[in-house]
């Protein structure tokens, strides 16, 4: 859109403030990087048409461009309230969730967007990229792959592992002291430990087991049971204080619990 076009739309909006030209005008200003002017026009239009999903979508995109993620999130949420199948809002919310590190939520929005517009190659590409970034992998017993909940918590991969009662891998990974993948071997042992810990606490009247800490030579380990049918191992070099490792393990256990609940 040329400057002349923008001036013409601006004049039209001035003559008739209830005109819908605020939509193309604010969009044109957004594309030109005139975000403040675009925001004022879009906000005014959304205020005048509070039931128009497109007005809030435009507002959200401008707010997102301005780095106002929380406001954009609210605006796109409003869009979905008005129009639950609005692809742009699903896409926008997926972007904001991804930027916030909430891969599971980002995937939910993107998968819905792809369902709504299955032939959109750009959406499929975005979904594929987010799945890669989230470490999506097949989960035993579940039809659809899911993001690795431990990926978001881990600055370094190879330091946390989640397995099911049969020792099958659910998420995360661990490496041995030589840097080689050791998830399968450790997973098989973890399943046995969980059963043994449960038996021990039951027979000794210690109550349900909650935490298992191993103080190793070069590394320390924390085990948790995020759910009754999963076991989590988190490890760090022994230089990391034991209390901090315990907190990391608690956090990872909470994330794993939420993730498993979402899968169900």
């Amino acid at each position: 859109m040329t400057v002349d076009d923008i001036q013409a739309l601006t004049a039209q909006l001035a003559r008739d403030p209830s005109s819908l030209v605020f939509l193309p005008l604010a969009e044109a200003l957004r594309r030109r990087g005139q975000l403040e002017a675009a925001l004022a026009i879009a906000a005014s239009g959304a205020g005048r048409y509070p039931e128009m999903a497109g007005a809030y979508d435009l507002l959200a995109r401008i707010q997102s461009d301005r780095g106002e993620g929380d406001l954009a999130f609210d605006a796109w949420t409003t869009v979905l309230r008005l129009d639950p199948d609005h692809v742009g809002a699903h896409k926008g919310l997926a972007f904001l969730s991804f930027r916030a590190g909430d891969f599971a939520r980002s995937l939910r929005y993107l998968r819905r967007a792809v369902e709504l517009r299955p032939r959109d190659e750009s959406l499929r590409g975005a979904l594929s990229r987010v799945e890669d970034a989230a470490g999506v992998r097949p989960v035993p017993g579940f039809e659809r792959g899911a993001p690795d909940p431990l990926r978001a918590l881990e600055a370094e991969v190879g330091l946390a592992l989640l397995v099911d009662p049969q020792g099958r891998l659910l998420a995360g990974s661990v490496h041995d002291s030589g840097g080689k993948p050791a998830s399968e071997q450790v997973g098989a042992v973890l399943a046995g430990i969980s059963r043994e810990a449960e038996r021990t606490t039951r027979l000794l009247g210690l109550g349900p087991w909650r935490e298992l800490s191993l103080e190793g030579g070069p590394a320390h380990f924390e085990l948790r049971t995020p759910t009754s049918d999963s076991v989590l191992l988190v490890t760090r070099p022994r230089e990391i204080p034991a209390g901090r490792l315990a907190l990391l393990a608690d956090r990872a256990a909470s994330a794993a619990r939420r993730w498993l609940e979402e899968l169900r």
Binding site: V174, V186, I193, T201, L206, G207, E215
Partner: protein, 114 residues
């Protein structure tokens, strides 16, 4: 130092309900200092078995065996540390016992028990 004296260093910590020296190989009690309610044979067998499992984790990662471990339940905890000559020092404690102090004392006892 006698085994009884070593175990007394653990049982004098508030909340500790018992301490044992256990044969890691077969899970049998070598020496104990227990409150009446604690089944020493069960503690010994279970602690030795769990120690074997823990060693499996560190072995799978190419690490040496653990220096100590703690299993915490909602109502209490079990701690163990391997000692020399195939022994295992074990303590059973209430949930509110000072786990940090108990761990340090356990490691100290494990370093001298043999």
């Amino acid at each position: 130092m006698r085994f009884a004296d070593l175990l007394a260093e653990l049982t004098r910590i508030p909340g500790v309900r018992g301490a044992l020296l256990v044969s890691r190989e077969d899970g049998l009690v070598v020496a104990d200092a227990l409150m009446e309610s604690v089944d020493g044979k069960a503690v010994a067998a279970l602690a030795a078995s769990l120690t074997g499992r823990m060693n499996g984790v560190t072995a799978a990662l190419g690490h040496p065996e653990p220096v100590s471990w703690q299993l915490r339940g909602s109502d209490g905890m079990l701690l163990a540390a391997p000692a020399r000559e195939g022994l295992l020092v074990v303590a059973v404690a209430a949930a509110e016992a000072n786990a940090g102090e108990l761990r340090l004392r356990l490691l100290s006892v494990a370093g001298r028990a043999a």
